[in-house]
């Protein structure tokens, strides 16, 4: 499974939180909430500015398997995926929205990103943290369309010159077959 680090956390052993830990947790949470607000407020260019140049933005496909095959539940990097992007392609996705011809976003989707269960999984390097969060993303479109996507993200957040950037975002959906005609939004 992908969630090895998360699963290894034993909640019955109380963790010793320092004030620095609490401040870091708070800072990362606030970053994720503010980032989600940019998406819901349709400030896509501002959001794009939060992506690191070496961004890896990836959403694998999931399969419905027997417990013995659980390790193959998600496709692996390099295999079939729903998103398999770098920063250049994310730039194209953002530009696409402003061309005046992006039919799947004209009229625009109305999204609500609910980000929760934020956990700092790892301190990768001096300025990089691996952070997991759960999400429910709700979308209403046109007069009657509605979509809900649930899952979790594993981000690598990097502090550069005092600001946070998203260096990696792996998005794991709980759905196997998506009940939505497109994924024209960001997670």
């Amino acid at each position: 499974m992908v969630r090895t680090v998360m699963d290894s956390t034993n909640p019955s052993t109380p963790r010793r939180w320092t004030l620095d830990d609490i401040a870091l947790q708070h800072e990362l949470e606030q970053f994720l909430y503010d980032e989600a607000a940019l998406l819901d407020d349709r400030k896509f260019e501002d959001w794009y500015a939060l992506l690191a140049d070496d961004l890896e933005y990836w959403m694998p496909v999931r399969a419905n398997l027997m417990p013995r095959d659980e390790s193959g539940e998600f496709s692996k990097i390099g295999d079939v995926a729903l998103f398999d992007e770098d920063k250049e392609l994310m730039g194209q996705r953002v530009r696409k929205l402003y061309t005046g011809f992006a039919w799947s976003e004209q009229p625009q989707s109305r999204t609500r990103h609910l980000i929760a269960n934020v956990r700092v999984l790892d301190h990768i390097s001096a300025a990089e943290y691996k952070v997991a969060s759960n999400f429910i993303v709700y979308r209403a479109r046109l007069a009657r369309d509605e979509d809900v996507w649930a899952g979790w993200r594993e981000d690598v957040l990097r502090k550069v010159n005092g600001s946070w950037l998203i260096a990696r975002r792996h998005i794991f959906l709980d759905q196997v077959s998506l009940g939505s005609k497109n994924l024209s939004i960001f997670f």
């Binding site: 390099g78 729903l82 061309t99 011809f101 039919w103 005609k181």
Partner: protein
């Protein structure tokens, strides 16, 4: 009352001579039920790729409309397909998408079947049923026929269907554009998503709608996205200037193929290497080796793209709903980084988040929605592009095809054949009465 007596005259709904199609065929419940009987229970339907079940006991679970189908590799190495439903209370005997199994046990009362579909155990067979169940007759129902073409497994519920070879017929000449590109296997992972559209709008796009790209996908092109092949340069040709051909094939298939312009292919990309491989070139011959990409609809519901090496089944889940199952093929012998590059090009282009495909769904749902209104239904859809102007390619090579890629020959052919399937009461009648491509001109 038999279904037929309630049915409207198909030839009045599809007027291929004038290029008119009645909107009712895209959302009418009765017509949909008849399509299931006369098309989806009759035609050869693509199920899976052989490489997805290489070993004995391997299985994948797929669907033909609402029928759940297990495709298995038996212990003898043979491929079998059967209905995934216990003969006792009907539960699925396998509820996973894929895996390897010694057999399948129903979760309700424990009836169990082996991987070739035979019923091998009934709990209490002796004490409760007094050995009176004739077990060989209560196995999982096998599809009437199963066969493969170059790794693509097809099945049909109808024993009277022509052989797969005859059913695909001349479309194999086209399909080889993809299937002769290398030793192709399915990359791990299936993309599945649903959309509220009629399956025929997706088929009508697949069979050769080279018209929509410039407008539907304009935002992707303006944003700098190029193609699903991963080999296109920035040069973007106006669709009307793209040379190529349109083919229509017996039993409802069709495709169009666009030739490449030397300057529009990035020859430094390893994904273009196969185009310079003499062995592949000689297999394809002078015409097909010039093709950049071809889009196919294998009747009724398999979309094939030879450029991005994608297979997409559009399985109907009701008159106004489909589920798409997308598989990407890669060359088994290509280095892993080249395979990755190729799969990535497809991931970015097609699928619900694909730079191109995200806008297709929006359109097909809108087209479908506009077939429900009672007053709106009075206004037929226009399929008149190129009507009466099909010019056969003057060539000794390959089957009949027409010049150009931007036309609606394929769509008129699709609905003409669709109406013939719907009118024919069985394969005997269909084999006798169906139109031949040469009659289409």
């Amino acid at each position: 009352m038999p279904l037929d007596t309630l049915m409207p005259d198909m030839s009045r709904l599809v007027d291929f001579k004038r290029g008119l199609v009645n909107r009712r065929i895209f959302s009418d419940e009765q017509i949909y039920r008849m399509e299931i009987e006369r098309i989806f229970r009759r035609c050869w339907i693509y199920l899976a790729h052989e490489s997805q079940i290489p070993n004995p006991g391997d299985f994948v679970s797929v669907e033909i409309a609402a029928d759940s189908i297990l495709v298995c590799r038996t212990n003898d190495g043979e491929i079998k397909a059967f209905i995934n439903s216990c003969r006792h209370r009907g539960n699925k005997v396998c509820r996973a998408d894929r895996g390897n199994a010694k057999g399948f046990v129903c979760s309700y009362h424990g009836w169990s079947y082996n991987v070739d579909g035979r019923l091998v155990n009934i709990p209490g067979a002796k004490e409760l049923y007094h050995d009176q169940i004739d077990q060989p007759n209560w196995g999982l129902p096998e599809l009437a026929r199963l066969d493969s073409y170059k790794g693509l497994i097809f099945g049909t519920f109808d024993a009277e269907a022509p052989s797969l070879e005859d059913y695909l017929g001349d479309v194999r000449w086209g399909l080889d554009l993809l299937l002769d590109q290398g030793d192709l296997v399915a990359a791990p992972g299936t993309v599945r998503w649903t959309m509220d559209c009629n399956w025929k709008f997706a088929a009508d796009n697949a069979i050769g709608d080279s018209y929509h790209g410039a407008f539907t996908h304009r935002s992707a092109a303006l944003a700098g996205h190029r193609s699903g092949t991963g080999t296109a340069t920035k040069k973007n040709l106006n669709p009307a200037d793209r040379e190529g051909f349109t083919a229509i094939v017996e039993y409802g298939h069709g495709y169009n193929a666009e030739f490449y312009d030397e300057s529009a292919v990035d020859w430094s990309s390893p994904l273009a290497a196969w185009r310079r491989d003499p062995a592949i070139q000689s297999k394809l011959g002078p015409v097909r080796s010039k093709v950049l990409r071809a889009n196919f609809n294998i009747f009724p519901n398999l979309f094939v793209n030879s450029g991005s090496r994608d297979l997409m089944v559009r399985n109907p889940l009701g008159p106004t709903k489909i589920e798409i199952w997308k598989t990407t093929l890669v060359d088994r012998n290509a280095p892993p980084d080249v395979q990755r590059m190729q799969v990535r090009a497809s991931n970015r282009h097609f699928g619900p988040g694909g730079m191109f495909e995200q806008d297709d769904g929006e359109n097909w749902v809108q087209s479908t929605d506009a077939t429900r209104g009672a007053a709106t239904q009075d206004y037929d859809l226009n399929y008149q592009m190129g009507l009466g102007r099909a010019v056969p390619v003057d060539s000794n090579e390959g089957p009949l095809r027409f010049n150009g890629t931007v036309n609606e020959h394929g769509q008129r052919w699709l609905y003409r054949c669709w109406a013939e399937y719907m009118e024919a009461s069985d394969w005997v009648e269909m084999k006798k009465n169906h139109s031949r491509p040469s009659e289409h001109i």
